[in-house]
């Protein structure tokens, strides 16, 4: 697990938030803060990664995450190569590591990996040459560390400190890599109360061992919270006897202005996107004054610049 931190205590890969020290998370957030001003300048580029080749290896379709990584890399002056693998080598039977080895031979400096299987980024990090860095951009249900980091950046931006907050994560915790990374990040940064709110079919067994309090009633769970982290509900959850219908889910777990009123008056609402309006979140909330969903996207670029520059910057 310490494979993501090298012998000198530096970040070698970013695979999961679990096990990273709070100082490392703050270092990433501080670095991101310095990049926010870059993204607001007229010439939005710094030369930190000039000449570096960054491969976006997406084995699963994604628009937002891939695009923000691409923008972040370009603002650091890196060369970005996008590969949509599901459409090419995987269908020809090439294994994950064969694909990675072939790309390594093209002198890649960094892989940004998204894959449908938990642990895929760890596997790649275990088998690349020591000078190559791997960023996990989402592996199965396991982790999505840059999403959690941009969420932490957003919370810190709006709430300043972590150590007096009540945070609720609402929705499909069971299948969510975002939720797992958020939980590790929040507990590492010292948030005293992290709640997860979902019907029992969408909460994994033993989730309380991750340091969170499970709730099944949205109204109770939202009482007095400072931050609401909404999760996307995949359409396929309506199959496999997990939920009866999208309508019932929205009625009991969808975030409406009335439900939001139970939280603290200055609570902020976040969502990793893409949103299902009318399923997990009401448009009046998504577009309302407490929503910080669009700033999240903007900060996401600065956070990804920070991670990439910390990993590969000289």
């Amino acid at each position: 697990m310490q494979r993501q931190i090298n012998k000198n205590g530096e970040l070698q890969h970013l695979l999961t938030i679990e096990g990273l020290p709070p100082s490392m998370l703050h270092h990433i957030l501080d670095t991101a803060e310095s990049f926010v001003s870059v993204t607001e300048r007229e010439v939005k580029k710094v030369p930190l990664l000039r000449g570096k080749a960054i491969f976006n290896l997406f084995f699963e379709p994604s628009t937002r995450t891939r695009t923000t990584f691409e923008i972040a890399a370009k603002r650091l002056s890196a060369d970005v190569i996008n590969l949509n693998i599901s459409a090419s080598s995987q269908s020809k039977g090439e294994t994950l590591l064969d694909t990675v080895n072939n790309l390594s031979a093209m002198h890649a400096d960094m892989f940004i990996v998204r894959h449908a299987m938990s642990g895929a980024a760890h596997l790649i990090a275990d088998h690349v040459a020591p000078e190559i860095h791997v960023i996990n951009a989402g592996d199965g249900r396991h982790a999505h560390p840059t999403q959690a980091l941009l969420d932490m950046y957003t919370i810190r931006h709006f709430k300043r400190h972590f150590h007096e907050l009540k945070v609720a994560i609402v929705g499909d915790i069971m299948h969510s890599r975002v939720a797992r990374s958020q939980i590790h990040a929040l507990t590492t940064l010292g948030v005293p109360e992290v709640r997860v709110i979902a019907p029992k079919t969408l909460l994994p067994k033993g989730v309380e061992h991750l340091g969170v309090h499970p709730y099944h009633d949205l109204a109770k769970g939202l009482k007095d919270v400072d931050v609401l982290l909404m999760l996307r509900l995949q359409n396929e959850r309506m199959q496999g006897a997990l939920l009866p219908s999208a309508q019932e889910y929205f009625k009991y777990y969808g975030l409406t202005p009335e439900k939001l009123a139970l939280a603290k008056p200055d609570a902020i609402v976040m969502h990793p996107g893409p949103m299902n309006r009318g399923i997990e979140i009401d448009s009046a909330v998504a577009d309302g004054p407490q929503s910080v969903i669009l700033p999240q996207v903007t900060f996401g670029i600065a956070v990804r610049m920070a991670v990439m520059s910390i990993l590969a910057g000289s």
Partner: protein, 426 residues
């Protein structure tokens, strides 16, 4: 061929002996213990100074990958691994390709195994045709061809009516039915024990109730049909409790556990170590402790290697996609010795779990050292440490969670039918 094994410590769990004595072998059988028979002139002397001489080990679950999966392992490579591990008899599950559901296939496998002149192979026949869980196989014919028992390997057999009929038919011919307790619908997408580790790693889980529900069904049907049942590779504390009760009730049921599950738990998965992707899944530390206790107090009768050679490529995949299983034949003895040492079990008791008790489950007269017994023997040095490494394993499968671990207990000689079939280097 006459062999004189001298200076050894004979540990014979079946006849409850543990003493220093010489063994004299002629015409494939043990002819005398202690004193040489009159006129005995050995062709070969084996100095067993410092070695334990015990019955050849008996393994209840070894996948030899033939027929059908020769790219993973062949009979030659795996039989060599077996004798290097001191195993002289092994039974192999029917999930080959094609499955062992026809007498011809069984005869061919027996013939191939016999021609190698190494360990004895006892095929377990398929309980249903093609292991599809629909129609019964010709069990009586298969028995005549050499099947000692019938099982469904790891394939789902959820249809209770088919299971009941299969047990009834097997009981008609007094054949034993070996089943692994796992409900298919509760385990279909799972790859790890549903618990803390699977939750943390985002791996689809297999709940404990997948085992207990299936076990309950099997035990009820066993009561109903009177069939002799053997439960393969129990994995949970609750399962052990259910078996304890069933035995107390007098049900003719036996049970084994995989050596991996005696020593490992879900924690050993760490960050996606695919060597720990096993069937059944590694469960919690509490479950592991219950398995160790169950083996000690006799609820669990035997330990099997659950040998599944997998090629490297099939393990170099994300955890859920990696093929399940671990190589085991050469680790069975040292891992049982490790359990015995840690649990303070006398050597003869410990060895009974991999000799006389599994022999009784297969239904073979083996697992003892007495005049007249076939000279199937294992001679091992209980104090020799060795490192588990790919190069130290003869099996084609180098996949095991114990790679890099130092284990105590090393086989020096293996005899089958009075012939030395394995001798360790050095």
């Amino acid at each position: 061929m006459k062999i004189h094994i001298k200076n050894g410590r004979i540990v014979d769990p079946k006849n409850r002996t543990d003493r220093a004595a010489d063994i004299f072998i002629a015409a494939g059988k043990v002819v005398s213990i202690g004193e040489a028979p009159q006129g005995f002139h050995a062709n070969q002397e084996i100095d067993a100074q410092g070695l334990v001489v015990c019955p050849g080990l008996v393994d209840l679950a070894a996948r030899l990958r033939e027929p059908g999966y020769e790219y993973r392992a062949t009979l030659e490579s795996e039989m060599e691994a077996a004798i290097a591990g001191g195993i002289t008899s092994l039974s192999c599950p029917p999930d080959t390709d094609p499955p062992l559901d026809e007498p011809g296939l069984v005869e061919m496998l027996k013939f191939r195994a016999r021609s190698l002149n190494q360990a004895h192979v006892f095929p377990v026949g398929a309980l249903t045709q093609g292991l599809k869980g629909e129609n019964l196989t010709e069990m009586a014919e298969l028995r005549d061809a050499g099947c000692m028992a019938f099982s469904h390997a790891d394939r789902p057999l959820d249809n209770a009516l088919v299971m009941m009929r299969a047990m009834q038919y097997a009981a008609t011919f007094d054949l034993s039915v070996w089943l692994r307790a796992q409900d298919a619908s509760l385990s279909r997408i799972g790859v790890a024990h549903e618990g803390e580790v699977a939750t943390r790693l985002g791996l689809p889980g297999i709940p404990t109730c997948a085992e207990t529900i299936a076990l309950s069904k099997i035990l009820h049907l066993a009561r109903e049909t009177g069939a002799r049942i053997h439960i393969c590779r129990i994995s949970s504390a609750e399962g052990v409790d259910m078996l304890r009760q069933a035995k107390k009730d007098g049900l003719p049921v036996t049970c084994d556990v995989s050596m991996n599950h005696l020593h490992l738990s879900e924690i050993d998965i760490g960050f996606f170590n695919s060597h720990c992707h096993l069937i059944p899944p590694l469960r919690s530390g509490r479950d592991r402790d219950a398995l160790r206790r169950g083996l000690k107090d006799g609820v669990i009768d035997a330990v099997c290697s659950d040998h599944c050679p997998v090629d490297d490529d099939a393990k170099l995949l994300p955890f859920a996609e990696a093929e399940a299983g671990a190589t085991g034949l050469e680790l069975l003895l040292p891992l049982v010795l490790k359990w015995a040492e840690e649990s303070k079990i006398p050597l003869a008791d410990a060895l009974s779990r991999i000799t006389s008790l599994p022999a009784a489950i297969i239904g073979i007269d083996s697992g003892g050292i007495a005049p007249g017994d076939s000279a199937d023997l294992c001679l091992f040095d209980p104090n020799d440490y060795w490192m588990v490494e790919a190069k130290s394993l003869k099996s084609q499968g180098k996949n095991t969670p114990f790679l890099g671990l130092e284990l105590r207990g090393r086989v020096k000689y293996t005899l089958v039918g009075g012939h030395v079939v394995f001798k360790a280097n050095s």
